[in-house]
Amino acid sequence: MYELKFDPELCASCETIDCLMKCQYISFDLQTAREERDRLNRGEDSFVLHDCVTCYACEEYCQFGNHPFYQIVDLQEEKGIWPTPKPIVHSQIKMYSPKGTFEPKEVEGTAFNMCLFPDFRDSIKGKLFEDTTQLFGRDLFCNLVYLHYAKASVIRERVPQIIKNFASCGIQELVCFHDECYATYKSWAPAYGIEVPFKPVHLFQFLIDRLKENRSAIKKLGFKVAYQRPCSTRLVPETEPMLDELFELIGVDRVPRKYDRETPLCCGAIMRASGREELADEINKKNIEDMLDAGASLCVFNCQGCYAAMGEMVAQAGLRPILVHDLCKLAIGEKV
């Protein structure tokens, strides 16, 4: 079985314990953070394992790339701690289980991984998406969502086969529509020593390249947008500058606000699933108020899950919800 590459020695010499000190959902003083970190590193129980809302953020906060969040998830599972009620976890594991009968698909042009979002297939059309072949389905689902459910074992079991399924399509590169898929192949798989025989390409990079090819069609949009940064970006924060470049290309102003960049707030979906409704309500409220205070008129999503969870809410608050690829389509004069 694949083991997490986690180095307790790094923590021993770490002075800031950023992984815990910067947590937006659990408060620590440095002494407590160090004690709990030591506990975790000895494989002992800690209140962190119970109070963690699985926002993925500590993975970004650790400057040493030491995978503190993946370690938390492994420990939660090992100790039988359930961040989410058991029936929800069990049903989700069943719901997205691979069919196990994957037929390699002939890929023409760019392989475009739609993950488990078939409803968005029709929106992946137009100039920017010419010469792409969409791949989707349970046998290609990244499964990373089980991090929220303390079920890394399911990811470990499924991801190697999913990678094989993609590879069997003969692809060199895989554009990921879902941020979390990209994070799976770029962060999670390497952290567990799982080889990825193709190059994952982030949607932002793909859009930048395609927009550049269609530069003459771009009309700067001039919108002020609030960006809803998804949890999976915590695993691949290196994609942030790509988004800035993308926004610049299409003439969109990402308004500076309290809950963006290193301090975004969760969309609340996973908190609701784990029974923390009040917390979800509270952070949604704070988040949307912050978007409005910052003067945004649109809320841009990169994660389809966040879009489903918050789209209606932001619309009711007077902000237009839009996915980033749709925003790019608008910029070249296409309808969304």
């Binding site: 989410t84 009620p85 029936p87 979906a269 029974g275 409704e277 209606e312």
Partner: protein
């Protein structure tokens, strides 16, 4: 027999009577497992007076009469077991009066639920009636005749409990009013008079033909939401229902435990509808129900399924189309279910028996329950879909229905809108004095034995 045909033609006009095979064929069967029996005539009256004349004719000719609304009861109760005249009530679909402030509507018995729903939506958006999940063509009369239930039953009881009064053509031809309308111009209640509605409600058209019905209406709060509580232990359900109904803020409560889709197998999904005039009311109800079930969430034994707002429609629409979709899952148009009316604490036993029987009989099945009243009882449904063109499939469903009916009675429940064989199982167990009373009532009301004969009679 042409004499009967001609007399019927005289009553309703040529267009609305038939003795043609291709038309009788349609009325000889329903989507369930009961074998077809052909009526001799089918007639579609347009008024109480026409119904009265048909009843008098049937008495004169000593020929059976079987009333039919939408014909969707599924358990053969509108199959004319002894032939005769099938009275199709669908032309009597007028909405006669809405009394807004007293919250009732008077409809003709053949008025469909779909028609009433859209009429109220258009003209009285603040009012609604309780809808069953049957296809919209099912009728108000047919539904109250069988003690139907629906989206407001958790709050207000069976649909027959929502009847204020009615006009009936007795088996001997008299037009009779029941409830306040017998004494007053208003159709507001069955009290304070002796309650004669029990002579017709739940009698499956064996004691007369309802022609008008006053149905209670209820406030229509426009904002809706649904809370989906998932468990994987049927033993928890009656406690969950007790806790949720104790809050008195939930509307419809159903529990679905279907083996399909695969990911649902082994789980129980309790769907709790809530409504409100505004978001604050909805939020309050949401919080109240959530805290009622906090112990399950804290112990991680149950949890609310997260559902993005856009997907909630599948659970909040009325009627729910998913039931009708399952009904045709085998594409052969065959569908029947044992709807067991039973105490809620029998849920785990019914759940186990339902799965066990369906699996043993190798039928396509689905299990679900709807709570009636504040958990006063439930309608536990073991539904079987089959292909009517495939005899082996029909036989498997028949066998499963039979075994389910027996199991339900063993558990202390009673099969609802029972088909003929299940009626016999019920009658066998019934207190002999009750049985005798039923027989005496029927004989007294219907001396010629013309009303839906064969049904609810001791073999």
């Amino acid at each position: 027999m042409d004499r009967v045909y001609n007399a019927l033609k005289e009553i309703v006009g040529e267009r609305f009577v038939s003795n043609q095979q291709e038309e009788l064929y349609l009325y000889s069967r329903d989507p369930g497992t009961m074998d077809p029996v052909w009526p001799d005539y089918v007639v579609m009256p347009a008024s109480t007076e026409e119904v009265q004349k048909i009843v008098m004719l049937a008495n004169q000719e000593k020929i059976p009469l079987v009333p039919q609304g939408g014909g969707l009861v599924l358990s053969g109760l509108t199959i004319p077991l002894k032939g005769g005249i099938l009275v199709d009530m669908k032309r009597m679909n007028r909405i006669i009066e809405v009394n807004k402030n007293s919250r009732y509507v008077i409809v003709e018995a053949g008025c469909s639920h779909g028609l009433l729903q859209s009429y109220l939506n258009q003209n009285y958006p603040d009012l609604r009636h309780s809808l069953p999940d049957s296809p919209p063509i099912s009728t108000v009369g047919g539904n109250v005749c069988i003690h139907g239930s629906g989206h407001l039953s958790q709050v207000y009881g069976f649909h027959s409990d929502m009847v204020n009064g009615m006009e009936v053509v007795l088996p001997t031809g008299e037009i009779c009013k029941i409830g306040s309308c017998s004494t007053s111009p208003y159709w507001f209640a069955r009290a304070p008079l002796p309650d004669l509605a029990g002579l017709f409600l739940g009698w499956f058209g064996t004691t007369g033909i309802m022609t008008k019905i006053s149905l209670k209406l209820y406030p229509h709060k426009r904002m809706k939401d649904v809370m989906l509580f998932l468990t994987e232990n049927p033993e928890y359900i009656s406690d969950i229902i007790y806790k949720v109904t104790d809050t008195e803020v939930a509307e419809d409560i159903t529990i679905s435990c279907a083996p399909k889709p695969d990911w649902m197998d082994g789980f129980q999904l309790t769907s709790i509808a809530i409504v409100g005039r505004n978001k604050a009311e909805l939020d309050f109800k949401f919080r109240t129900i959530r805290s009622a079930l906090a112990s399950y969430i804290d112990s991680r034994e149950g949890g609310f399924m997260y559902m993005p707002p856009a997907m909630k429609h599948n659970f909040t629409e009325v009627p729910l189309r998913s039931t009708a979709r399952f009904a045709d899952v085998k594409k052969g148009g065959g569908f029947e279910y044992v709807g067991a009316i039973m105490p809620v604490d029998k849920f785990p036993d019914a759940y186990r028996a339902g799965h066990e029987i369906a699996q043993r009989c190798e039928t396509t099945y689905s299990l679900s329950a709807r709570i009636i009243g504040r958990a006063h009882c439930m309608m536990f449904s073991c539904a079987y879909a089959f292909n009517r063109a495939d005899k082996a499939d029909v036989d498997r469903a028949k066998q499963a229905l039979h075994e389910t009916n027996k199991a339900v009675l063993e558990l202390g429940g009673i099969p609802w809108k029972a088909e003929f064989p299940a009626q016999q199982l019920i009658l066998e167990r019934m207190d002999p004095n009750t049985l005798r009373l039923m027989e005496q009532v029927r004989k007294l009301m219907d001396p010629n034995g013309i009303m839906n004969p064969g049904n609810w009679e001791v073999k």
